[in-house]
């Protein structure tokens, strides 16, 4: 598309001004307030707030659990995507549609549902209790919630790639004598890897900021099972706005970095695929 398009197609001026206006008012200004507010703290107080042991524990927990959730989704998401694309089984269409459930279900509903399932007297918690495995109210519960939340990301990014894989390449590998496993590892996996990475990063980014589904199932114990959004919420409830915004700002920077990485990965991945 060249600059000439702007003259050919109408509507640029109204569309761009509406977009920029909306974005400035709704997104930029509120986010700017975040920066300004924490700036009012002054560097020393800011640093004290964001590096307090409780805050550090919260970041660590949020990052570790989001990574774990992303990793679980990466492994099983690929399997699910593979199964949905390559195999037939009864009820496949329903299962395929259900994968989107975490996108559509409100986080609070997911939160209470997962909590009731994995509590010690819940359907699943009951089975795990004799083994001494406690899920609800522990970091493990957080991982379960974040796995649920991020589940569709990997599946939905990998599915289209698997669908578009050209069978000729697989045929060629087989004809050349490669075993099935070798074909999978050397031919298919590299093709899927960019999408998988994107899906993992999306699941991770989503899990970092998640609040509604986690706050019910986590123990919310400071230093142990308190996620960063909850810490921010607690500071807000104490009307410690400055502290809350400082922590939010630091955390937001991490999330933005993830988002930019995702966008870059996605572009590089699709470019590489197109180049094949």
């Amino acid at each position: 598309m060249s600059r000439a398009d702007r003259r050919v197609l109408p509507g640029f001026a109204p569309a761009i001004s509406l977009t920029v206006g909306y974005v400035s008012l709704l997104i930029l200004i509120p986010l700017a307030t975040l920066v300004l507010n924490s700036a009012s703290l002054g560097p020393a107080a800011f640093w004290a707030a964001v590096s307090a042991p409780r805050a550090l524990a919260a970041y660590r927990l949020s990052i570790v659990t989001a990574l774990a959730g992303g990793a679980i989704n990466a492994v099983f998401g690929v399997i699910v995507a593979w199964v949905l694309v390559r195999y037939e089984f009864p009820g496949k269409r329903v299962v395929d549609a259900l994968v989107d459930l975490p996108f559509a279900l409100p986080t609070a509903v997911a939160g209470i549902a997962l909590t009731s399932l994995y509590a010690e007297n819940g359907w699943i918690g009951k089975q795990l209790a004799p083994w001494g495995v406690k899920v609800a109210y522990t970091p493990l519960g957080i991982v379960v919630a974040l796995t649920f939340i991020g589940l569709p990301f990997v599946v939905r990014t990998v599915q289209p790639v698997l669908q578009d894989l050209e069978p000729e390449i697989e045929d060629a590998a087989a004809v050349l004598g490669a075993g099935r496993v070798a074909t999978l590892a050397r031919v298919i996996l590299p093709g899927v890897l960019p999408a998988l990475a994107t899906g993992f990063a999306l699941s991770f980014a989503r899990g970092l900021g998640e609040y509604g589904s986690v706050v019910f199932i986590a123990g919310n114990m400071p230093m142990v099972s308190e996620i960063t959004p909850l810490l921010i919420m607690i500071k807000l409830e104490q009307f410690d706005y400055a502290g809350a915004t400082a922590i939010a700002l630091v955390f937001l920077t991490v999330s933005f970095t993830m988002l930019l990485t995702v966008n870059a990965l996605a572009r590089r991945g699709t470019a590489r695929l197109r180049a094949r």
Binding site: A52, P53, R54, A55, L56, A119, E120, A136, Y137, G219, N220, M221, P222, M223, V224, I234, E237, Q238, F239
Partner: protein, 339 residues
């Protein structure tokens, strides 16, 4: 001159409209907002239904009382931030004083209603699991190592502050008034606290639902409610021999009541809490009523506790808040660990 049929019909219609207007003006809708602390949800559910009936009978208007619940300190700050409460029914006088400082109600609010504007009282007790496995009998036992104690966050919750002061008051009594020893005792107690919820109800949920902790320090009314709600036998109430007299006050928020033109109904609403019916409802929900007669008939459900007051032991709420709960106060220094 006789009136034409048209004029006569017109007059009748006009008269009817006026009558209808008058009657609908009488059966108006009124609504007030009661911003309350955390455990009073069930109490005000019943109070609101009962009082709406009374108000309708008295004025013909339909009254809706809207409720908001949360930790007392947090609720007070919300009102100061613009949550337009017509009345506040909070956990302690200091939180209402804070609103007076913000100019939302008169400084002498506490004198406007009997008993320092506290229609009911409560105290602080312990809730333990069936069989009392850790053998909790008194405040001492809470500071022992290996006992997990659940209590809310004093920065947001009123009940939490009563809990803290009750523990401190006990220690003062035990160590003969030695403030340093009291501080040490309270510090040891808070070392045993794994999580601080924002409100008393939140702590109850943590103790009961999440199964965290060996003992919950709770409002007496909250503990009695938990014992009843979760089936007799699952939880036991342990009453320490000495505890603090907790007086949760009520007040009309003058500024907002004036703005919404609800001063009359708001004042009547709070006055209802002092009537025998209102006191009865409070007692049914395990709040200790001020009315002697109602108190006598419900005495059986309340444990016998020797209570000290905040005025006697701490010199009043203002002082206690400043010393213990303000930023950098004793609680911050005790609980520390990077707040």
């Amino acid at each position: 001159m006789s009136l034409s049929l048209r004029s006569r019909i017109g007059i009748v219609v006009a008269a009817m409209s006026i009558a209808v207007a008058a009657s609908t003006a009488k059966a108006g809708k009124v609504s007030i907002l009661n911003v309350s602390y955390d455990p009073t949800r069930e109490l005000y559910q019943d109070v609101n239904v009962a009082f709406a009936k009374v108000w309708k009978a008295k004025t013909g208007n339909d009254l809706t009382v809207q409720q908001s619940h949360g930790g007392s300190g947090k609720q007070a700050r919300s009102v100061a931030e613009g949550l337009e409460a017509d009345v506040v029914t909070l956990a302690l006088a200091y939180d209402v004083d804070a609103l007076a400082v913000s100019g939302l109600l008169a400084a002498d609010w506490q004198k406007r209603l009997p008993d320092n504007s506290c229609p009911y009282t409560s105290t602080i007790v312990f809730l333990v699991r069936k069989g009392n496995p850790k053998g909790i009998k008194d405040w001492d036992d809470l500071a022992k190592p290996g006992v997990a104690v659940i209590t809310p966050n004093p920065k947001t919750s009123g009940g939490a502050r009563w809990n803290y002061l009750a523990a401190w008051g006990f220690a003062l009594g035990k160590y003969g008034g030695d403030e340093a020893k009291a501080k040490d005792f309270v510090a040891r107690l808070y070392k045993n606290v794994p999580v601080l919820d924002t409100g008393a109800r939140g702590s109850t949920v943590t103790f009961v639902e999440r199964g965290i902790g060996d003992v919950l320090i709770a409002w007496e009314n909250e503990a009695l409610l938990a014992v009843r709600e979760f089936g007799k036998g699952k939880y036991e109430l342990v009453a320490p021999p000495r505890s603090i007299l907790a007086e949760p006050p009520v007040a009309v928020v003058d500024k907002f009541a004036a703005k919404h033109d609800t001063k009359e109904v708001a004042t009547a609403y709070l006055a209802y809490l002092y009537t025998p019916e209102g006191q009865e409802i409070a007692a049914r929900h395990f709040y200790r009523p001020r009315n002697a007669k109602v108190g006598a008939s419900y005495a059986y459900q309340f444990p016998k506790i020797d209570m000290f007051t905040i005025d006697k032991v701490f010199g009043g709420w203002d002082k206690a808040q400043r010393v213990h709960f303000a930023d950098g106060g004793v609680f911050d220094r005790i609980f520390g660990a990077g707040r």
